[in-house]
């Protein structure tokens, strides 16, 4: 079977992999690059556990062909923290106990950061609708929404201070 050679930027690093033409970006991240932080909960774009940011926009990596990533920028959960310094969204998820099993968490964190990058002061309703594509079965969403609102407040404060 023919394999495509793909060169792409993942979390700022240039990466190369071979993929079959029908392989998804999610499978390539997990199987070819060993980055298993992005999860497959459905494989059909319905759960958001595989959320990554592709050229600045969040997408379900299960709905992207790996070949499409040629020359593009991919940001995954593995790139959210800077070294051991957690991003405020990650820190607030921990402080608010916004995860129980933790399986949907990477997708939620990537999606939440994507929201706050675009909208530093979202309302609760905006947070809920933005995250409607990310399913969580454990928390009932309450603590997740609170964590995102908290992170937004902290980021606003950081920006003001800076």
């Amino acid at each position: 079977m023919s394999r495509n050679h793909v060169t792409t930027t993942v979390n700022g690093d240039e990466r190369e992999f071979l993929c079959s033409p029908g392989q998804t970006l999610l499978d390539a991240l997990r199987d070819e690059l060993g980055m298993t932080g992005s999860k497959e909960g459905c494989g059909s774009g319905d759960c958001g556990a595989c959320t990554v940011v592709l050229d600045g926009e969040m997408v379900c990596s299960c709905l992207v062909l790996a070949s499409e990533a040629q020359g593009r920028r991919v940001e995954t959960i593995e790139g959210i923290a800077e070294g051991s310094q957690l991003h405020p969204v990650q820190q607030k998820f921990l402080e608010n106990a916004a995860l129980q099993c933790g399986f949907c968490t990477p997708g939620f964190i990537v999606a939440s950061k994507a929201l706050l990058d675009k909208n530093p002061n979202p309302t609760e309703t905006e947070v809920r609708y933005w995250l409607a594509g990310n399913l969580c079965r454990c928390t009932g969403y309450d603590k997740i929404v609170r964590a995102v609102m908290d992170a937004a407040a902290e980021l606003r404060q950081e920006r003001t201070a800076a």
Partner: protein, 755 residues
């Protein structure tokens, strides 16, 4: 056991520190079921029946075997035959014949999605291609899906031989029933005849899925010495080990199960589906094999909680005190025996003191996947019927729903349905707290209405093992055998830190594989913080005793002169009075004072107490479309004592939202051919973030005297009351009883328009 310590004595119990595994989980590093990869691993794929009921005449695997890269193909014929042995499997039990048959069909496929063959190949793609080339010759048999069809006296019998329990001569006319169970007290019919107020109703529920976001996955390596290693996510590695060993006829000690992080279970991961398949493929291929389900496979072949058809009749005296309950119901159990009817009976009126009642439950087989435990298994369905009827009764009498319940609510010392006397239960406290909550008396907006319900789950204790050991710098290492499904590492660390008198941050918690610690029953039954917590606390206390002995040696005094205060050994003998060694100082000298400091402790505590919750729900109904929005929701629950309050609240909120989903949108939908029509998250509609309001929580803390820190199980209770709380709110908004779940917009619309 001593009474729990007073709350204000605690230093760390009741605080909300960051969970020990948190950073791994927010950075994507935690290894879940499908994340684990073994060296030289093959990839599996499963061939599944497209028919709900069919005899397997033959299976031709030759074309599949010819696909390049295919290393092994198995069918039901590759499984060991089994004697019918009951084995423990967490909250339910089942025969190994049923479990093995459910894992892979032998001569008959019993449901759409039933596994009939499996492939292992060098790539997932090759395995999938080979799976498509397996040729199965089916003889299609009549199928039965809906409960009313399955329970009919003239129903098509879906299995020649059904193990029946409790079916007397007169009841053999139910071809698909596997259990009839009755709990009765007094003479319910006579008491009903004397009741002043009587309400009755028929209630219906569809099967629903647990809906964990992580699909099942397992890696198995059958080693040259005949031993088996398994890596998987589950609610209990020990029960995966036991069941896998049973199905494969292996000695338990030859199977080692490594627990991976679990991406949700809610009861659905207390059993096994893939482990023996991966093991047999590994045995045949000589390589480790990973078998993972797609989401569609999860819906078609795992889960569901039973659907139910329930008749309820409640009678009360002039004052509103319940005097009789007559209840009969059927629960679907899928194509196999067992089921939740027993639990349904025992949770029907276990929250009310009633002198006369008769409750009968049936388990009924149908051509659906084998039922699996789902959070308080069997309780939400019956509670929906009973609590909806209670609200009807309140309306009929013209009394406040909480007042009505207070007249009959069980209290400590009352007899339970189980035949024992209730201990320090907290239903009345929950009802009082709900009544006092501002939500209960808040004004409602246009097209809004409020529902209330309370409910119970029995909870459990049972066997757990934990060890506590110290490193020579004073680090505390807790090792346990229960997967952390929602923050239990944090609660174990808090209890160990509290007991030892050390900071939370000093405690590290590891969840060990089945060869590295003693048996621990599944993380389920709301038992882990209670039972495994006791194992941890007692192990920590044993370590304190060792530390006291070591300190005594260091001071050359009698151990009786050593007290353990706030993490230090304090000497009380005359020579050294007031001197102290910290835990770390003693640990540093362990080599010189007797060797490593460690204690492993197996426990089997059974002083768990039932949990109770009271829920208030406000909905708004769009009268033109029938759409229902939950606009406000409050969960009140007796939690005993919250070790880590944030994760207790999380259980309350998550359980409530699962119940709201069950009430409004979730259901298995089969087409006329008996195929599951909504095997995906698009059409199996679990709640999304924008569907929900914040979920307010009130933790009532009435400590359990049977736990050093007062713990009661909290995980399951919160899914019990929402069905009736939501259903009643919608019924009131609509002005008609909504007794069939899910209460979808088209049903509401029909009710509003004379349907």
């Amino acid at each position: 056991m001593n009474a729990p310590e007073p709350k204000d004595a605690f230093k760390v119990v009741g605080t909300r520190p960051i969970r020990p595994d948190g950073v791994e989980k927010v950075t994507g590093k935690a290894i879940f079921g499908t994340d684990y990869k073994a060296a030289n691993m093959l990839h599996g794929a499963i061939v599944r029946s497209p028919h709900p009921h069919a005899r397997i005449k033959s299976i031709d695997t030759s074309k599949a075997e010819a696909v390049p890269g295919v290393k092994a193909v198995i069918t039901g014929a590759d499984f060991p035959s089994l004697e019918d042995i009951i084995v423990r499997m967490g909250e339910s039990s089942g025969s190994t014949v049923d479990i093995s048959t459910n894992i892979m069909a032998k001569d008959t496929a019993y449901y759409d999605g039933h596994a009939v063959a499996a492939i292992a190949a060098v790539t997932r793609q090759a395995a999938l291609e080979a799976a498509r080339l397996v040729e199965v010759d089916y003889e299609i048999l009549p199928h039965v899906i809906e409960m009313c069809d399955a329970f009919a006296a003239d129903a098509t019998k879906i299995k020649a031989a059904i193990n029946t329990v409790g079916l007397g001569e007169g009841e053999q006319g139910r071809p698909n029933a596997s259990l009839k169970f009755t709990s009765a007290k007094g003479v319910a019919a006579a008491a009903m005849a004397n009741a002043v107020h009587v309400v009755s109703g028929h209630y219906s529920l569809k099967p629903v899925h647990q809906g964990y976001i992580e699909p099942h996955a397992a890696v198995a390596a059958w080693k040259a010495d005949g031993k088996l290693d398994v890596w998987c996510s589950s609610q209990g590695q020990f029960d995966v080990r036991g069941l896998t060993a049973s199905v494969l006829h292996l000695e338990i000690g030859n199977v080692r199960v490594m627990p991976l992080e679990i991406g949700g279970g809610f009861g659905g991961k207390t059993t096994i589906y893939l482990e023996p398949v991966a093991a047999l493929l590994s045995k045949k291929s000589g390589q480790p094999v990973r078998v993972a389900m797609t989401r569609e496979e999860v819906f078609r072949a795992t889960g569901p909680a039973p659907g139910g058809e329930i008749d309820v009749k409640l009678g009360a005296d002039a004052d509103g005190k319940l005097v009789s309950a007559e209840i009969e119901f059927q629960y679907s159990s899928g194509a196999f025996g067992g089921g939740d009817a027993w639990a349904g009976v025992m949770h029907s009126v276990n929250h009310y003191a009633i002198e006369d009642y008769k409750v009968t439950g049936w388990n009924v087989l149908c051509n659906m996947p084998k039922h699996a435990a789902y959070r308080a298994p069997g309780a939400p369905q019956i509670n929906f019927a009973v609590e909806s009827a209670m609200n009807d009764l309140a309306d009929k009498i013209g009394i406040d729903p909480i007042e009505l319940r207070l007249k009959s609510a069980v209290k400590p010392g009352d007899p339970s349905m189980m035949g024992s006397k209730f201990g320090e239960i907290g239903l009345i406290e929950c009802l009082e707290a709900a009544k006092a909550h501002p939500h209960y008396s808040a004004p409602l907006g246009k097209n809004q209405a409020r529902g209330f319900a309370c409910g119970t789950w029995m909870n459990y204790g049972g066997p757990s093992t934990a060890s506590v050991s110290l490193a020579d710098d004073g680090s505390v290492l807790v090792t346990e055998g229960n997967p952390d499904i929602g923050g239990s590492r944090a609660s174990m660390a808090l209890m160990a830190a509290e007991t030892l008198g050390v900071p939370y941050e000093k405690v590290n918690v590891t969840i060990a594989d089945t060869s590295s610690i003693g048996y621990s029953m599944v993380t389920g039954g709301s038992r882990t913080t209670y039972a495994t917590g006791i194992a941890v606390i007692e192990a920590a206390k044993a370590v304190i005793n060792i530390l006291r002995e070591r300190a005594a040696k260091m001071w050359e005094t009698d151990v009786a002169n050593i007290e353990w205060i706030d993490g230090s050994a304090v000497c009380t003998d005359a020579d050294n009075a007031g001197k102290s060694f910290t835990l770390a100082q003693i640990a540093a000298k362990a080599g010189a004072t007797g060797g490593p400091i460690a204690f492993e402790n197996g426990v089997n505590p059974l002083q768990h107490l039932p949990g109770y919750g009271a829920h208030i729900c406000d909905v708004e109904v769009d009268k033109e479309t029938g759409n229902v929005s939950v606009v406000r929701y409050t969960v009140v629950q007796d939690v005993g004592r919250a070790i880590h309050p944030a994760y207790v609240e999380g259980q309350m909120q998550g359980g409530a939202v699962q119940g709201i989903g069950w009430a409004l949108n979730e259901a298995y939908i089969y087409n006329k051919d008996g195929r599951l029509d909504n095997a995906g998250f698009l059409d199996y509609r679990i709640p999304v973030a924008s569907d929900m309001p914040m979920i307010d929580t009130v933790m009532v803390e009435k400590p359990n005297p049977g736990h050093p820190y007062g713990v009661k199980g909290v995980g399951e209770v919160p899914i019990v009351p929402p069905l009736a709380a939501v259903g009643t709110a919608v019924s009131r908004a609509v002005g008609k009883p909504m007794r069939s779940l899910p209460i979808s917009p088209d049903k509401v619309y029909a009710a509003l328009n004379g349907g």
